[in-house]
C-alpha cells in the first residue's frame, strides 16, 4: 500500500460525519434537549483545548500552565472584532465569514503572544516554562481586568452568538486532524524526540528551541481559536474564565486521558466536562436535600484529588500513549 494516509483519513471523516449526524438528528427530533447540546458544545471546545495542550505537554514534553490565558487572548480579540464590526454595520454581509476571520485573528494573536513568552523560557531546559506560563495566566487576567474598553472586571458583554454546533464540531475535527498530521510529520517526530530525550535530540542535530517554540505557538493558536468559539457561544468573555484554575482543568484532561494521546485527550475532554456538570448538579442536590453547607469548592477538591491519584497510580494517564485506530496513520493495523 503506497499511501496509507489517503485510506485512513476518510475513516476518521466517516466516523465524524456519523457522529455529527447522530447528534444533529437527536437534537432536531427533540430526543436531546438544548442543555445537553450546550454541554456537548462545551466538550468539543475543551477537545480543542486539550488536544492543543497535549501537543505542548504530551508530545513535546514541555509544561505549560497558562493554556487558558491564550484562550483568553483569542476570546477577547475575536470578541472585540465581531462586536465592533457588527456595531458599525449591523447588517454586514457575510456574517459567518467575518466571524471565522475574527476567530482566526484571535488564534493568530494568541500564537504571537505564545511565541513572545515561549521564546525566552523555551530556550532554557527545565521547568521555566511552567512558571512563566503560570505568571502569564495571572498577568493576562489582570490586564483584561484593567482595560475599560473590553469591560474591565465586568467582562466583554454582548458578543454576537455565532458559535453553533456545526462550527464547533468542524473546528474540533480540524484541530484533531491538523495536530494528528503534524505529529506524524517530520516536525512532529522532532517534537517527540525532544520529549524522549532533549539532549540526544540536540546531539542528532534537531534545533530543539525551534521545535519547542513551534509546538508552543501552534498550541497557543488553537487555544486562541477555542477561546474565540467560547466567547461566541456564551456571548461573553470574562477575566475569571481564563485564570489558572481553568488551565489546570485542561491539564487534568490531558493527564487523565493519557500523555501524548489525542484519543485520550478527546475522550477525557468529554468525560470530564460531563463529570464537572454532573458534580455541580450533584453537589447542589446534596446541599438542597440535606441542608449541609456544601459549596462548589468540593468540586475542585475532587478534581485536585483526581489529579494527584492519576499521577501517583497511573502516571502515564488512563490511555497511556495508545491511540484509536481512527487516529493512527501509517501503521498497518
Amino acid at each position: 500500500m503506497p499511501n496509507l494516509k489517503t485510506i485512513k483519513l476518510p475513516k476518521l471523516l466517516i466516523f465524524a460525519a456519523v457522529l455529527y449526524a447522530a447528534i444533529e438528528i437527536l437534537y432536531k427530533t427533540d430526543l436531546m434537549n438544548g442543555y445537553i447540546l450546550h454541554i456537548i458544545n462545551q466538550s468539543l471546545i475543551y477537545v480543542i483545548l486539550a488536544v492543543s495542550l497535549n501537543l505542548i505537554n504530551g508530545i513535546t514534553g514541555q509544561f505549560s500552565l497558562g493554556h487558558m490565558g491564550f484562550a483568553g487572548v483569542g476570546a477577547y480579540v475575536s470578541g472585540t472584532l465581531t462586536t465592533l464590526i457588527f456595531k458599525l454595520s449591523p447588517s454586514a454581509p457575510g456574517g459567518m465569514l467575518v466571524f471565522i476571520a475574527s476567530i482566526v485573528a484571535g488564534g493568530i494573536a494568541a500564537a504571537i503572544i505564545g511565541f513572545l513568552i515561549g521564546f525566552p523560557s523555551l530556550r532554557l531546559k527545565g521547568d521555566y516554562l511552567a512558571i512563566v506560563t503560570l505568571g502569564f495566566g495571572e498577568i493576562i487576567r489582570t490586564v483584561f481586568n484593567n482595560i475599560d474598553y473590553v469591560g474591565g472586571p465586568r467582562g466583554l458583554l454582548g458578543i454576537p452568538k455565532f458559535s453553533n454546533f456545526t462550527v464547533i464540531f468542524v473546528a474540533a475535527f480540524l484541530t484533531i486532524v491538523i495536530i494528528r498530521n503534524l505529529i506524524e510529520s517530520s516536525h512532529g517526530r522532532a517534537m517527540l524526540s525532544i520529549r524522549e530525550n532533549e539532549l540526544a535530540a540536540e546531539l542528532v542535530g534537531i534545533d530543539t528551541t525551534k521545535y519547542k517554540v513551534l509546538a508552543f505557538s501552534i498550541g497557543a493558536f488553537f487555544a486562541g481559536i477555542a477561546g474565540g468559539l467560547f466567547a461566541h457561544l456564551l456571548q461573553l468573555a470574562h477575566p475569571t474564565q481564563f485564570g489558572f484554575i481553568k488551565s489546570v482543568e485542561v491539564l487534568i484532561m490531558i493527564y487523565a486521558g493519557g500523555v501524548g494521546s489525542i484519543t485520550g485527550s478527546t475522550v477525557a475532554a468529554f468525560a470530564l466536562t460531563f463529570l464537572s456538570e454532573g458534580l455541580r448538579l450533584g453537589i447542589r442536590f446534596v446541599a438542597d436535600t440535606t441542608g449541609l453547607p456544601i459549596g462548589g469548592e468540593w468540586r475542585m477538591v475532587i478534581y485536585s484529588l483526581l489529579l494527584i491519584f492519576i499521577m501517583l497510580f497511573r502516571t502515564e494517564g488512563l490511555m497511556g500513549t495508545k491511540e484509536s485506530r481512527l487516529i493512527k496513520i501509517g501503521e498497518a493495523d
Binding site: P120, I131, E138, I139, L199, M300, V301, S304, L305, I308
Partner: protein
Amino acid sequence: MGSIFNAQQIVNGLQVGSIYALIALGYTMVYGIVRLINFAHGDFYMIGAYASYGAFFLFNAFFAGKTGILAFIVLVASMLAGGLIAMLANRLAYRPLRYKPKLSSLITAIGVSMFLEYFFSALPMIGPSYRSFPDILPRVEINLGIATISNYVIIDIAVAAVLMVGLTILVRYSVLGKAMRAVSQDKDAARLMGIDIEKVIGYTFMIGGAFAGVAGLLAGMTYPRIFPYMGIQPGLKAFIAAVLGGIGSIPGAVLGAYIMGLAETFASAYNSLIGEGIAFAILILVLLIRPRGLLGEKTADKI
C-alpha cells in the same frame, strides 16, 4: 507628592521583601535538593497563617494579656503547622514519585496546591471568605520624620533576619546542613557516603515549610487579613525571587526577595497595574539575560 523613591517606600519594600525571602528560602532549598518546583509552597504559608489564627483564639483564654507568651505560642504554631504539612506533602505525594519522570512530581505539586486551597475553603469552619487577623501585639506607629514605621514592619524585618541567620548557621555548621549540601550536590554520592537521603529531604521540606508558615503569620499580622487563596500570589512572586537570585542558592533567594520586594513597592507606588506586572517582567528579563540568576551556579549538561 514626592518621588516614589523615598524612605517610606524603602521600609515598605524591605518588609515585603522579608516575607518573600522567608517563602523563597523554602522554594530554593527544596529545588536545590530535589529539583522540584513545589507549587504547594505558597499554601504552606496560608496554613501557617490559619494555624496561628487558630492558636491565638485557643490560647487567648489561658494567657489573656500576656502578650509575650501568646506571641511565642503563635509563632511556634505557625512553624509547626507549616513544617508538618510540608513533611506530609513530601511523604504522601512527592516521595512515591521521586524516581518517576520529573514532570509527574510537578503536576502532583499543582494537585496538592489546589487540594489545600479548595479543601480549606470548602471546610465549613474555615470557608472561602476573608477573616481579619487579630492584633496579637498592640500596634504602634513610630514617626521618624522621613518615614512612619509601624512596629509590625520592624517585627517582620527582624524575625526574617533572625531566622535567616539561624538557617545560615544550620546549613553551614550543623551535620544536617552538611548532609543537605551533600545531597544537593550529588544524590548518589551522598547515598554512598551513608547519608539517609530521604531523611534529609524530609527535613529540608520541614524547614522550608516552617519558614513559609512564619511568613504566613507575619503577613497575617501585618495586613491583617487571611483567606484560603492568600498563598498564590506571594508564592509565585517568591518563586520568581528565587529564580532572580539563582534557584538553589540560599543567599540568592534572600537577595532576590529583597530586590523583588523593593521593585514591587516602587512600581506599585507609580502605577498599580505596573506593580502587578513587574514581577513577571523581572522573570522574563532574568530568563533572557541571565537564566542562572544573580548568584546561581553555572551547570553543565551531563551526558
